[in-house]
Symmetry: C2
Subunit: 114 residues, 2 copies
Amino acid sequence: MPPKRAKARADSLESGDDSEEYRKKRARNNMAVRKSRVKSKMKTQETMNRVNELKRENTILEEKVKTLTKELGFLKELFLAHASSTSNEAKFQNFDLEKILSDDPSTHTDHKPC
Amino acid sequence: MPPKRAKARADSLESGDDSEEYRKKRARNNMAVRKSRVKSKMKTQETMNRVNELKRENTILEEKVKTLTKELGFLKELFLAHASSTSNEAKFQNFDLEKILSDDPSTHTDHKPC
DNA sequence: CTACATTGCGCAATGC
DNA sequence: TGCATTGCGCAATGTA
């Protein structure tokens, strides 16, 4: 149901009126509206800042993964090289070397390679 | 300078007027305003979605770093254990083992440990 | 019912 | 000249 304009004094307040009470009410609402809009804009701004923070953290983490992966790969090669140049692999029998050396870290999660 | 209300026909258009031209202009602006606001809200929504995407990616990367760090630590221990149980460390002299084994990945970047 | 908060909407100024 | 963007007030509606 649309408004109820110009009911003169039907209600004690509301539309199309310039009573003191009405103006006071309008003034308070206008303040509330301004306040609410400022708040809303700040929230939007914070969300955009959050995106930037997260992008930054993400870049750092990706670099870290890259470095760790490289190091791990290097150590694995070292292991394999050593294993093929010696005959007593038995020294490592207490560890599940097979598993570790065949364990590709890039398959630990299902996300895209970076 | 505040508006220029009720200049009757001073301008060919503008405020406080109900000429056909004026109404057409208002109608077009109202459309533009609605359109602009829809666009604005969509952008805000997209930004929020972006935050969620980034948080998700971040979590995955952190898990990956955790796993890689653990693996690397294990391989290092293996190396050290082997090194202390054998006398011919010379086999690894072609690599900068000292550096690798003392290279703590957690110091590669300046962010907090995870 | 009272009071503030949020939201859709139109107006006008201003940006492009 | 015209659409796009923005601050603002009104009224309806939501919330406490």
